[in-house]
Symmetry: C2
Subunit: 308 residues, 2 copies
Amino acid sequence: MSKNVVIVGSVAYDDVETPLGSRKNLLGGSATYFSVSASRFTHARLVGVVGNDFSEDDRALLARHEIDVSGLVTDTSGDTFRWGGRYHENMNDRTTLYTHLNVFERFTPKIPETYRHEEFLFLGNIDPALQLDVLDQVAGPRFVALDTMNFWIEGPRREFLDKVLTRVDGLIVNDEEAKLLTEGRSTLELGRRLQELGPKTVIVKRGEHGALLFHGEELFYVPAYPIEQVIDPTGAGDTFAGGFMGYVARHGNLELDTMKGAMLCGSVMASFCVEGFGLDKMSAVTIDDIKNRYTRFEALTKCPALTL
Amino acid sequence: MSKNVVIVGSVAYDDVETPLGSRKNLLGGSATYFSVSASRFTHARLVGVVGNDFSEDDRALLARHEIDVSGLVTDTSGDTFRWGGRYHENMNDRTTLYTHLNVFERFTPKIPETYRHEEFLFLGNIDPALQLDVLDQVAGPRFVALDTMNFWIEGPRREFLDKVLTRVDGLIVNDEEAKLLTEGRSTLELGRRLQELGPKTVIVKRGEHGALLFHGEELFYVPAYPIEQVIDPTGAGDTFAGGFMGYVARHGNLELDTMKGAMLCGSVMASFCVEGFGLDKMSAVTIDDIKNRYTRFEALTKCPALTL
């Protein structure tokens, strides 16, 4: 039975420069990308904060995706979180031009009463002390996954991160973050060590090299969906997480096949995300678009029978 | 119908140091790794040169794998090619400690009369002018693939490399070499541009991230086989190529499913190769070992049915 998914994270305005062009005031933030992506699979319920300047058009966009925003607080004391970044020629490296936290600096997530019994929860990349606080507000969800970043892994908040890791079921990080969190001479060892930190389901995103799932004793690979041209990589990771969690919540179980399908749907959504600036491409994706790319994924990796 | 495969390349003695230990006088070289790997699938016929010091034990090893060595010349004027290398902690980067070309410096491959009508040929990483010379000695093989390296791509011999590329069917390179050969903003563009250089079948090896096959208009991904611990990465690329070409030659056709199966068998053989020093592990691999890892590969990437 389809379940909702709750996301706690940032809502932002982004200014993005890439070798292919630049755009200002793009609706962004981890919770935005996550919930728009998840909305293709189930209902997303968003917990975040915006400022004075948050536009009616952007509220309308969230509403069109049937995203529940009763957890989205408007803090009239300032502006919405604003981020500016420039992507380099290879589209992998980027320079942050500015980070104005604005009202996000005082963000203390408050989970609405109506969300507290939801079974699927995603803790976006925020201060791990706040992630812990969120866990104290909810009633034993079935599957909690979290994202984090180098700033929390290497910084003085690591002890909070270690604590929250022991209380979650899933971890979604990129290759670099995985290697900062722990060490492993092989992929298998890396996965096992990440699981030893707490979460029994670990996803390592490897950009153009795809993603890896460790689910209990099981392992699954998904390549990056091959696209002609990356327009704007912003939000791809959160979009992956949204597709993944949305698919899992829709199916309402933690079976291996559900997790595998979720990996593929996360990758499919991320492939759409990077094909346009901001939410341009992703927000127009249909179920048929998803099915087509899923089918292509099957062809990309399906092993023929071995004849020896 | 099973066909033989001809390999032209180096036979060497390697001294290898890794974080896990070191070994001296290991039988190595591209033609050795290639032919031992290919021998699991078909008969390999080797063209190369060794010196005075080449041991009877090593001849016996080649014989045990039913490798035809009528193209292996013994040049009594000197020693066998000798290479020494040290792998760093991550097992990816290595430092060459010395390269003594010895008799390999004067290597001018001569294809035995009995090999000239073989349909499957692999040009190991040697001077592209020699690769061209080999092509002039054979009678229109059905499928020729080549390996090359940064030294030939960036150096003054590039014009010969460009020429040989227009005369081969397949190219097997690593990610770095692919990017030196041409440019592409996306994986798809990179593959297309490599194909424009000549070969319609292009394999890009990505180490721990697996490998990609471009075969005409088709694309196929294979992840790296997950192993517990890399002992010695020497020869993994040639072992991949040997498994690939051996499987293709065994099937004697260029169908997409043959190419896909060959990618998997190449990866399986490479996974065995790196689990031991030199040929230690690989030379003892059985057909059942290969079948087991092939089956595990299927499970690693098999997409479940999409339920939306």
